[in-house]
Amino acid sequence: MEKRVSFNHRLLPYLLLLPQLAVTAVFFFWPAAQALYQSVLQPDPFGFDNRFVGLSNFQYILSDRYYLEAFGTTAIFSSLVTFISMATALFLAVAADQVIRGANAYKTLIIWPYAVAPAVAGVMWIFMMQPSIGVIAYYMKVAGFRWNPTLDGTHAMALVVLASAWKQISYNFLFFLAGLQAIPRSLIEAAAIDGAGRWLRFRTIIFPLLSPTTFFLLVVNIAYAFFETFGVIHTMTSGGPGRSTTTLVYKVYADGFVGQDLGSSAAQSVILMAVVSLLTIVQFRYIERRVHY
């Protein structure tokens, strides 16, 4: 889409673009190029010089058991976070869409946790779930469940999944509610007159009509689980125990800053870039489709 009118000015447009282009060049293109560059280099053992090693960094990490494990961890983590937060949000949105009295109060109470930073969410959930002082941990113990996220990898995973999913419910709720409210009431009324019950109406009318929203949220939630949950993992488990909660982004951080293995970290960054680009392309294609919907 283009504007028909435009101003004629030789210098002004460049001046207007300058700040953003400068920031983008310095903090986006330079680092991105750096990542590509470093991904094909290997520092010598004394750290004096870099040597071109071609794709061997990639070869190395792709055959690294820990890296492949992190891939698996990320896949499990992301699917669980996405599913739990979206399902809960959809349930609440459908309920909130039906009440008349108190609808605004419910809405406010459900969306305000959006303001909680992932890292703060991590701290709050630790406070609740830590075996020594956590209230919920205590009641689980009373119920006879041996809860120990500091030693048990599955428990740790459950913990970061719950905290991450919890934090994302508000966001998903907001979009589902907007999607539900955009469905023409007359369609639902027509289905009711056709004799469809509440569940059948949801399954055959509402859910299919909601699919653009659902698909959009799917992409956003996967991106969220990939990148923004770093704060949750870092505060709650630091990727442990025994790498059981080390996701790809966490590993980039751990290898790059803790392990100081820049070549490997850069190669991981490049792989992540590819993953994000893929997600973005999927999202763009979806937007295209929605335009012609």
Binding site: Q20, V23, V26, P31, Q34, A35, A115, V120, T235
Partner: protein, 278 residues
């Protein structure tokens, strides 16, 4: 709308109340924790009702914290959040204006250079970005906290979409009235973008306030920490009992500004959120 009647309505409300309770419980518990004494928190199970230590815990957190006073970290967060929001809005509205309202050589190149950044969040290029910031001497500075995070096209994209919906005749009328490009921007476009700008500011403020990985790397001196980073450092580790009440007071303080924004500017917040994702 097919109304629910009787028992159905009650069930719906019950489900919602249960959902709200589950969602709010972690925050409520943090609040309760921030009002208890150290001993009360350590008693198992801890009380689920607020205690009497609120004032003490909060003043200790604000004034002393564990390493750095939370007040100082709140200030850092505020500077970073406002800096990111304002910075992104300024560079974005200017470049979107250039891209939509001017025709000039390399326009498409500039467009793509900027919109490439939509693809890659800072987390992905974290290590080299850190190196760039370090080599520019930006560690432990506000500019180091702010600038790398405004290198993103989301706001530019939003402004571009908005400008494309502004009727063309408005710009033509302004030209006939004698307004040049600067005047049109200042007198017409900026006032028209007011609601969008406010909504964007709300979203970017929360985004900036809640940043974690980047401030974690770029601030090594505790007095430059943002409150979200500081909180992680205040948190007692598993095998020590630390000072949970003060930590929880800090946690509540850390969420207050963004929560206030969400609750009191709800309309703008929802508009910003939904439009920035289109």
């Amino acid at each position: 709308m097919v109304e629910r009647r009787g028992i159905g309505t009650i069930l719906t409300h019950l489900a919602l109340i249960l959902g709200v309770a589950v969602l709010c419980f972690p925050i409520y518990l943090a609040f309760v924790g921030s009002t208890l004494s150290h001993d009360e928190i350590l008693s198992v199970p801890m009380p689920l009702w607020p205690g009497g230590q609120m004032v003490e815990n909060y003043s200790q957190a604000l004034a002393a914290g564990t390493q750095v006073p939370v007040a100082r970290m709140l200030f850092n967060s505020m500077v970073m959040a406002i800096g990111i929001a304002a910075g992104k809005i300024i560079i974005s509205i200017l470049s979107a204006y250039a891209i939509v309202y001017f025709r000039f050589p390399f326009r498409m190149l500039a467009f793509w250079a900027i919109f490439m950044t939509l693809m890659l969040p800072v987390e992905v290029r974290i290590v080299p970005t850190y190196e760039v910031a370090a080599s520019l001497g930006m560690l432990n500075s506000y500019s180091g906290l702010i600038l790398p995070l405004i290198a993103s096209a989301t706001a530019t994209f939003l402004y571009r979409q908005f400008f494309l919906t502004v009727p063309e005749e408005l710009a033509e009328a302004a030209r006939v009235d004698g307004a040049g490009p600067v005047r049109f921007f200042k007198d017409i476009l900026l006032p028209l973008s007011r609601t969008n700008t406010a909504a964007l500011f709300v979203i970017l403020f929360i985004y900036g306030w809640n940043q974690y990985l980047w401030p974690l790397l770029v601030t090594t001196r505790p007095e430059m920490n943002t409150v979200v980073i500081g909180l992680q450092q205040m948190m007692p580790s598993a095998d020590d009992y630390g000072n949970w009440p003060v930590t929880m007071a800090a946690a509540i303080l850390a969420i207050l500004p963004p929560v206030a924004v969400v609750v009191f500017m709800q309309r703008l917040f929802i508009k910003g959120l939904i439009e920035s994702e289109k």
